[in-house]
C-alpha cells in the first residue's frame, strides 16, 4: 500500500515517537511510505492535494534512530507527490505542540485531509471528527459516569464556587490550550492563590475545573484503542502505567515521570467499552485513553504516543498490529473500488 504520515515537522520529530515506529514498520513490510510536514501541503489548480514528501532510500531499517537520520539526510528522496493517489493518509501532528506562530499548523492536516477524502483516500483519524475535538469539550460528549465532575466557564466567581463544592481540591486547566500547559492543582495549601490561578487561565479563554482524583498522585494508565477496541496482539493489550515523579500536575506522558507495566482490570475495559460507540461514530481509528481510578481524564485522538513503551513491557510488536489493521482497510477499499464512507472505513 501507499501510505503518508502527516507530522508537524520532520526537524522536531524524535526517534522514540510512535509515528516513526509505525512508518518504519510499514516500510519494513514492503509498503511505500511518505513522511509529510504540516506546512508542505498544497491544493493544486487541478483540485488535487499534493505535498512535498520525504522517503528513505533504504527499504529496511532496524532502528528508528537510523530511519530518522536517513529521512533527514541528503540521501532521502524528497518529491512532490499526489495525496489523492495514496491509499492511506495518517494525520499524526499534535496540535498541542503547534502553538504561537505555528498555530496555523494545528488544523492543516484536517483541512487538506478533508479534501483528499473526495478521491477515496482513507484519512485517519477521520478529519471531520478531529476538527470537533480541538478543545476539551470532546471528552464531555462521552458518558457521564466515566468522567470526573467538570465545570467549564469564564466566570471567576462561579469557578470558585465549584472548587468550594469540591471541598477545595480541584484541577484547573485551559479549555482550548495545549494538553500540558497551565494545569493547576488546587489544594488546601495553595487556595490563597486560587484567584491568580484562575486569572492565568481565564485571561486566555475558558477554564475547565475538574474533580481531583486521589489516584492521580500515583499517575495514570494509558490504554490504546484501535478500531474502537483495546489494541490486542498475541494475547497482550497495548497499555502501560505512567508513574508520577515530582509534584507537577501534568498527568500525561510528556510530563516528568517513569513508566512501568500495568495489569489492566475490568474497570479499564469498562471504560474502553463505554467510549467505543462514540469513537466508532466519529471514525477514530487510533486513540489513547488516559485513566485514573475509574475515570477517563483525557483522550488523545490526534497523535497518541507511547506504543513503543507498551511494546517494551508487553514484548509484542503492537506497531505490526496497527499496520496490519491498515492493510485490511486497503483490501476492503480495493473490493469496493474506493467507494466507501471514510468514517465507516476508519474503524472497520
Amino acid at each position: 500500500m501507499r501510505i503518508g504520515f502527516l507530522i508537524s515537522d520532520i526537524e522536531t520529530e524524535k526517534s522514540g515517537f510512535t509515528t516513526l515506529r509505525l512508518a518504519m514498520t510499514a516500510l519494513n513490510r514492503g509498503h511505500e511510505v511518505w513522511v509529510i510536514n504540516a506546512g508542505d501541503l498544497a491544493y493544486d489548480m487541478d483540485e488535487k492535494i499534493r505535498a512535498r514528501a520525504h522517503s528513505t532510500a533504504g527499504k529496511k531499517y532496524k532502528s528508528t534512530t537510523t530511519y530518522l537520520k536517513e529521512l533527514k539526510s541528503s540521501r532521502a528522496r524528497s518529491e512532490r507527490i499526489t495525496i489523492d493517489d495514496l491509499d492511506i493518509l495518517m494525520l499524526r501532528n499534535d496540535p498541542a505542540q503547534d502553538t504561537g506562530n505555528r498555530a496555523w499548523a494545528k488544523a492543516a492536516g484536517i483541512i487538506f485531509g478533508n479534501v483528499a477524502l473526495r478521491s477515496g483516500v482513507i484519512v485517519l483519524n477521520d478529519p471531520t471528527a478531529l476538527a470537533g475535538a480541538l478543545d476539551k469539550m470532546y471528552i464531555q460528549l462521552l458518558p457521564q459516569h466515566i468522567r470526573p465532575r467538570t465545570f467549564i466557564s469564564c466566570d471567576r466567581n462561579e469557578i470558585k464556587e465549584f472548587v468550594q463544592e469540591l471541598e477545595g481540591r480541584a484541577v484547573l486547566k485551559g479549555f482550548q490550550g495545549s494538553s500540558s500547559q497551565e494545569v493547576f492543582l488546587v489544594t488546601g495549601d495553595n487556595r490563597a492563590n486560587l484567584n491568580q490561578m484562575i486569572d492565568a487561565i481565564v485571561n486566555y479563554g475558558y477554564a475547565i475545573a475538574q474533580e481531583y482524583l486521589p489516584g492521580a498522585e500515583q499517575g495514570s494508565v494509558r490504554l490504546f484503542l484501535v478500531n474502537g477496541e483495546p489494541l490486542r496482539h498475541k494475547g497482550k493489550v497495548a497499555a502501560f502505567q505512567w508513574v508520577r515523579t515530582g509534584d507537577g500536575m501534568r498527568a500525561n506522558i510528556h510530563a516528568p515521570g517513569s513508566t512501568e507495566a500495568v495489569k489492566l482490570t475490568d474497570v479499564h475495559y469498562q471504560i474502553a467499552e463505554a467510549v467505543r460507540p462514540r469513537l466508532v461514530q466519529d471514525g477514530m481509528f487510533l486513540a489513547g485513553l488516559e485513566i485514573v481510578d475509574d475515570k477517563l481524564i483525557d483522550i488523545d485522538i490526534f497523535s497518541p504516543d507511547g506504543l513503543v513503551t507498551a511494546q517494551s513491557f508487553e514484548k509484542v510488536n503492537f506497531c505490526e498490529a496497527v499496520i496490519e489493521a491498515l492493510e485490511r482497510k486497503v483490501d476492503y477499499m480495493a473490493y469496493y473500488r474506493r467507494r466507501f464512507d471514510n468514517v465507516d472505513m476508519a474503524t472497520l
Binding site: M45, W104, V115, L141, R149, Y204
Partner: protein, 348 residues
C-alpha cells in the same frame, strides 16, 4: 419562542447590524430574546449548559437604535439562563474579528452549540457545518464551475507559478483567518512587491491564490439564502449590489464603498441552485453569497450582514421572513417532541 443570539461581544454590537434587526423583530413579535457574548457560556457541574444572558427590558421597540441602546445600557436584564431549555440558538458571531488574544472566542459558539444541539436546542447555522467552514477551504467543496481558479500552498514558487499561469493577476489571502485583512491584489506590473506580499502571508500560514475576475472591479452582489434557497419575501429577493470605491480590493462593507439596488438574474439564481445541496447538507440556515459575474467569490455562513440594506432597496421587511422561518422550526419541534436532527431542522 425562546431565542438566543450568540455574538462576539454585546458591547461591540452596532444598531445597524442584521443581528440587531432580527432581535428587535423577534422581541416585537412577542418572542423571548437573549443575547450571549463569547465568554458567557457555562458547562455546569450537572452537565447542563447555562449562560449569562442579556435582554432588553421592554417588549416593544420602534427602532433598532433604541433596541441596541437598551441592550447595552444600564437597564438591560442580566440573568443566568439554562441554554438547554431554549428553542433556538442563533450563532451570529464573526470569528474573523476575534484575533490576537481573543482567538479562543472564535469557536466558543460552535463548541457550546454542538453540545446544545444534542440537548434538543435548534442551533443555526448548524455548528458542525460551521466548524467545517472555519477556514476558506470550505469554499473549495462547492462545485468547481462556480468558483474562480484556486491554488493553496505555503510555497512561494508554487504561488508565483500560479500567478504566471493566471496572466499575472490574482488575489492572494490567508487560508485561515480574517475576511478583509491580509487580502492582496497581485498584479503583473507590481512584481517588485510580490515576494514581499507572499512572504507576509506565508509567515502566518497557508495562502490562497485566486483567479482575478475583471468584473470584480465593478463590485459584487450579495444575495441572501435561507433554508438553502434565495431569500424571497413578498416577491422580492433579499439582495443588494456593492460598488467598489477606488482601488480597494475588499468590496465588503468594512472596506467602504457604496450600495445600490441589485437586479437578480437567471445567472445568479443558477449559482444559488448549484450551492443549494451543500448548504442543505451542512445545515446552513442563513447564508450570504457574494457574486461576481457568474462566479461566487465568497460564501458568508457565520454572520452574513446587510439584510437592512436589502430591505432599504426592496422595501419589504426581510427580518420578518427570517423570524417567521425560525418560528416554523419551533412549531415543528413541538410536534416531534424535540426529536430531530439539527442539520435537517436547520433547513426545513
Amino acid at each position: 419562542m425562546r431565542l438566543g443570539f450568540f455574538v462576539n461581544d454585546i458591547a461591540a454590537e452596532l444598531s445597524a447590524y442584521t443581528t440587531t434587526r432580527l432581535a428587535q423583530t423577534a422581541t416585537n413579535r412577542g418572542d423571548e430574546v437573549w443575547y450571549f457574548s463569547a465568554a458567557d457560556f457555562i458547562y455546569g457541574a450537572d452537565d447542563i449548559i447555562y449562560a449569562h444572558g442579556t435582554a432588553v427590558p421592554k417588549t416593544r421597540y420602534k427602532t433598532h437604535h433604541a433596541y441596541l441602546k437598551d441592550l447595552q445600557g444600564p437597564n438591560a436584564v442580566r440573568q443566568r439562563v439554562t441554554l438547554d431549555d431554549f428553542d433556538i440558538l442563533m450563532l451570529r458571531s464573526d470569528p474573523s474579528t476575534d484575533t490576537g488574544n481573543r482567538v479562543w472566542a472564535q469557536t466558543a459558539g460552535i463548541t457550546f452549540g454542538r453540545v446544545a444541539k444534542r440537548r434538543g436546542v435548534i442551533v443555526v447555522n448548524d455548528p458542525d457545518g460551521l466548524l467545517k467552514a472555519m477556514n476558506k477551504m470550505y469554499f473549495q467543496h462547492f462545485p468547481e464551475e462556480v468558483r474562480p481558479r484556486t491554488l493553496i500552498s505555503r510555497n512561494r514558487d508554487d504561488i508565483k507559478a500560479f500567478l504566471s499561469e493566471m496572466g499575472g493577476n490574482a488575489v492572494i489571502k490567508p487560508l485561515q483567518g480574517s475576511g478583509g485583512t491580509g487580502v492582496f491584489m497581485a498584479k503583473v506590473d507590481d512584481r517588485s512587491n510580490i515576494n514581499q506580499m507572499i512572504d507576509t502571508l506565508v509567515r502566518e500560514g497557508y495562502v490562497i491564490a485566486q483567479e482575478y475576475l475583471p468584473a470584480a472591479a465593478e463590485g459584487d452582489i450579495r444575495l441572501f439564502m435561507m433554508n438553502g434557497k434565495p431569500l424571497r419575501y413578498k416577491g422580492k429577493y433579499a439582495a443588494f449590489r456593492r460598488v467598489r470605491r477606488g482601488d480597494d480590493l475588499r468590496s465588503n462593507i468594512h472596506a467602504g464603498g457604496t450600495k445600490e439596488k441589485a437586479v437578480i438574474t437567471n445567472d445568479h439564481l443558477r449559482l444559488a441552485e448549484i450551492v443549494r445541496p451543500k448548504l442543505v447538507q451542512d445545515g446552513m440556515f442563513l447564508v450570504g453569497l457574494d457574486i461576481v459575474g457568474d462566479k461566487l467569490m465568497e460564501i458568508n455562513v457565520f454572520s452574513p450582514g446587510g439584510l437592512g440594506s436589502a430591505q432599504q432597496f426592496e422595501r419589504v421587511n426581510f427580518n420578518e421572513a427570517v423570524i417567521t422561518a425560525l418560528e416554523r422550526k419551533v412549531a415543528y419541534m413541538g410536534h416531534y417532541h424535540r426529536n430531530f436532527a439539527n442539520e435537517e431542522m436547520a433547513m426545513l
